[in-house]
Symmetry: C2
Subunit: 643 residues, 2 copies
């Protein structure tokens, strides 16, 4: 599709650093191959169609190879890989997820946890689709608490093999994409036992099917059957009954068994080793956030285009037709969500750039990795939550038409639904974010302490902790130039808004740290203190991520050349900032950050921004530049004759 | 199922006046016949299965006859009819909706809009299932604005017939349940034209298929095809090309054509006539609210039972297992929603009783009817919104397991999704509620004025308007005995809570009326004023319905004999009241009803109520007494071996 003028300028801002990759996907993939099925297919037919699409991707694109380093046979263009993948989020999400399993999870485990031997042996087949794999982490008994997995991988010195075993039903691998039908090789996460000693969770490659598809001896495969959505993905279950594989099937980058049958690891602490291994898999979360964002933009494009054309009632005077989007309530449903989608997309772009820098070694070290993981967790949680809520609102905004499968909301909703709980449950991920914040906080405290600066207050500590994300200098300039958070003008000023976001985060973090300091020991009381603070902790995490997202938006606006596109983006940014503050305005009043009157005025200000953006709503969704084949519906067709 | 002790006592409170009917459904229907399909069936198979279930209901129960008066061949037990129907909301919702179309909408149109002639000719076949019908109101071009329908019914004096015609694609009847496959007779809403004069929308019975299923000449039938959910319902489209039916096919209770071809109506105003006709169909909305409530209770039962058994992490000390429901964040997700479900169920019971009184003539007159309609609209809007949000939260609370079709959330979500926009879009319904409030307000103003009481302030007017719903005297006693809304104790006191709910409603209504008074004329400015006030108007409606719901809860607790059940219900009521205030606490602070400190403390108070109810959560869902066959899943089965 060709866009003109402002929409085209905004597209280039949104498309970001890998905009060319986006344009390639838009123009070079045959959309029909990847479009969601127009009718509900029988499950097996949908699975075959999905597999075919993934094989076509493997055969005709650089998706997989871009995500590998040169030693791994790739091009080291990690950002391109993840961005192309994000674009698939506009298409059939079964393809998105199945490709994610093959290239992202299965391929990612081998690339991230394996060594040259594994890269040479498996990555070419992974990338060209001749070796289909799956990623067997989650168990029936343990999802979020991966560290407590029950499957075992026991080293047998006599035969120099590893024995993979599922000791109970709880140890069964569950919901594993690819396990039910297509995967031949499984990356199995299991407790590694060498010479009677447990070394924690490691990943072992276990063949589960022969070339002809026959399930291997000792492996039991189950089918998760019908699911709410993602019906093209063959999720299944795996149990292992003393299945033996060669020792070298252990992906041994972070823990290996030498020729003498002894365990070695470059990381001494079992717990740190475990989290390092998990860290290499961060791309999965980033991709899920990307796909959720893309699906949300599809929904908004449909609902806003519909609202531009559909009439409901006549104005009292009878003559003029009122389009749905003219109603304040309809604007209030869709436009703040559109603004949040913009904000999250720009934050996602910044996240992908950060991931690319870490993957290429441009940013290095434990801190960079930890920050990336926390950011990925936070953006994933907020973007998938936003997707679930927004696609719902968009469906309802299209009434009965929105309920028909042909109009896409059915699959958008059902397919993305699981995004809030897979690749990390959102609640657990936000806890991870808060944990990261607390760690930085206590590190900073400790550092100040050892510098003899014990007289510093909590405020100084948080100042040190709240690292600005992107364009730190712009943010600082805006905050310094703001009229101050107490003045009535604060809300209308970008610096004042930034200050409010930051201030909320600081306050929540400081008070959280104080609250948890009381929980020193390892006993039940300590659990009770943590548990009572859980809602507080989740708020702090959310405040943090919302601040990071706002900063990404501000930086992107700042980088846009002056003109209509920039002005429009600035107003969208305003709507994101104001509607986010408005949603939590009780907090700001309760903590003396806003007066009751300011809080009250906020709702009117949000409504006014919506009214201001209303004439540009179509431009703003056109700028998403979603290929027509992926948003072809009957929504507008039927209206042609109607209005 | 047999419940004991407290759960059983609570069950009788929740079951309400038609508890025996609920027990009959629980024990006498063969649940397997009505259970949702375990696997996704091909569409036509699901449609056949659904039809079979509806025919079985028609053959073996009094569902349909209970909803008819004695003149109509029924038993006049309207409350029993609607209550039995509500129980089907726990089963396959395709059956619920298809039965609703046949007995509620199609049957209801004939019963409510027809006369003895139609009752005799059609109701026996409607009730025993030998005459399948559909309800053809919505058009492709008009959903909410029924008054603007385009289909015409023109009287032809020469042949004494009515000619039904669809002049455009926009006039096509759309989303009509039963039209695609099974219905033989359609109740078609069309603009009646007699002797060149338009008389507004009337309902005409139009045969669309012969006995053998052949579509009748002049009728074009389309199939809406796959939908997000309700796949057992054959929604379709109907167009009419000058189709002629006898004059007597006009359902002529409110408007008739005499033997001389002249139009008569007992109601002069076309607009009032139209709204009177619509009013007879109020039962559809009540039933949708009932079904949504039932489906929500199924979801809560599943998610809370799962959370009682499922463990996630260990406590830091390692020994004790923490069940999901022990986490504060998990409690915060589920328990306030459980409390709201209780509140809405008790309000629904009160609504059904009110409907029964109006239907039997125990309550009479235009005011009673108008109040019933407004209440039905409000409860429908809030209950279906609650259903969509809560079933979502419940799915997420069960993680990946919640995503598998076998665990029911897939169909609960997809099937109920359309409830927020059919039988009246929720936004439009809340506007209807607000309109009713404003009418009462201006009536009261006018009345006071004519009594020379022009010096009365707005406050006195609203006092007169806010009629207490049920147990008015209890409510009044509680408010009078409260410590006053300013005291810190107000929030902990039921009277204080009631006062806050009522006060919010009054304030929103008064200020809304003032705001709209400026919009006197019929011009574009007037539309702008209304439009700008739309968010305010929706808030007022919501505040009204939430107050009505709280009063129903309070009255039900008051009617419960002292003991553990009553104490538990009282705490649940507290949680509903506090969490509802907490959700809108910014408003209360902005309008000086709560101090910033009170507002802040509120969140802690909600958390404490959740903790208090946590040990009783299983009892509270057991009291819903949902037949096992309708909540059979693998959720708990898999855990047996796990924990």
């Amino acid at each position: 599709m060709r866009l003109m003028g402002t929409a085209e300028q905004i597209r280039t801002v949104l498309d970001g650093r890998w905009g060319e990759v986006r344009q390639q996907v838009r123009t070079e993939l045959d959309p029909a191959d990847f479009a969601p099925p127009r009718d509900l297919l029988p499950m097996d037919e949908h699975r075959q169609r999905t597999l075919d699409a993934v094989l076509r991707l493997a055969g005709t694109t650089d998706f997989a190879r871009n995500g590998l380093t040169r030693e791994q046979g790739g091009t080291d263009d990690h950002g391109a890989s993840v961005t192309a993948f994000e674009m698939l989020g506009h298409a059939d999400l079964s393809v998105f997820v199945k490709a994610g399993v093959q290239f992202g999870l299965f391929g990612g485990a081998i690339a991230g946890l394996g060594t040259q031997r594994h890269w040479d042996a498996y990555l070419p087949g992974m990338a060209d689709g001749s070796l289909l794999g799956c990623f067997a982490m989650t168990e029936t008994g343990h999802g979020s608490d991966v560290q407590s997995l029950l499957t075992t991988a026991t080293y047998l010195p006599e035969s120099d093999e590893l024995e993979i075993h599922s000791p109970s039903l709880a140890a069964r691998k569950d919901y594993i994409g690819g396990a039910a039908r297509d995967a031949r090789l499984a990356a199995v996460f299991a407790q590694l036992v060498v010479d009677g000693e447990q070394h924690g969770v490691h990943c072992v490659l276990v063949p589960i099917r022969d070339e002809d598809g026959t399930v291997r001896p000792g492996v039991t495969v189950g089918d998760c059957g019908a699911k709410m959505g993602l019906r093209g993905v063959d999720n299944g279950r795996l149990s292992f009954d003393h299945v033996r594989v060669p020792r070298h099937n252990l992906l041994n980058r972070y823990g290996t068994i030498d020729d003498d049958g002894r365990y070695h690891s470059p990381i001494e602490s079992a717990s740190r080793r475990f989290f390092t291994m998990l860290g290499t898999l961060v791309r999965g979360r980033i991709s899920v956030a990307g796909g959720a964002g893309a699906a949300t933009r599809t929904a908004l494009t449909l609902a806003i285009t519909y609202a531009e054309h559909r009439t409901q009632f006549h104005v009292p005077s009878g003559e003029r037709e009122v389009h749905l989007l003219d109603y304040r309530a309809h604007q209030a449903k869709l436009l703040p969500r559109l603004a949040r989608s913009y904000a999250l997309m720009l934050a996602q772009n910044a996240l992908v750039e950060q991931m690319h820098r870490v993957a290429t070694g441009e940013e290095d070290g434990e801190d960079a990795q930890r920050e990336l993981e926390a950011r990925a967790a936070g953006i994933k949680a907020l973007t998938t939550e936003h997707a679930t809520q927004t696609i719902q609102v968009c469906r309802e905004a299209c009434g009965g038409a929105g309920y028909l499968s042909v109009n896409r909301f059915a699959d958008l909703k059902a397919d993305t639904d699981v995004f809030t709980t897979f690749e990390g449950d959102n609640t657990v991920l936000l806890q991870l974010v808060a944990k990261g914040m607390l760690t930085s906080y206590s590190d900073a405290f400790h550092e100040l302490d050892t510098r003899g600066a014990f007289f510093f207050g909590a405020r100084q500590v948080t100042e040190a902790v709240i690292e600005r994300t992107v364009g730190g200098s712009i943010i600082q300039r805006l905050i310094s130039g703001s009229p101050g958070r107490d003045g009535d003008a604060a809300l209308a000023d970008r610096g004042g808004q930034l200050d409010l976001f930051e201030d909320r985060e600081k306050h929540l973090l400081e008070t959280l740290a104080m609250r948890l300091r009381r929980a020193g020991g390892d006993d039940a009381d300590s659990f009770a203190i943590f548990n009572d603070a859980q809602p507080h902790l989740l708020l702090a995490a959310r405040a943090h991520v919302e601040r990071v997202v706002l900063e990404a938006f501000v930086a992107a606006v700042d980088a846009t050349p002056p003109g209509e596109a920039r002005e429009l983006l600035d107003t969208v940014c305003d709507l994101y900032a104001l509607s986010t503050i408005a949603q939590d305005r009780a907090w700001f009043v309760e903590h003396g950050r806003l007066s009751a009157q300011q809080s009250k005025d906020l709702l009117g200000a949000v409504d006014r921004r919506c009214a201001q953006l209303r004439p540009h709503a179509q431009t703003l969704v056109d700028a998403f530049a979603i290929p027509m084949a992926w948003r072809e519906t009957e929504l507008i067709a039927d209206l042609g004759d109607v209005s």
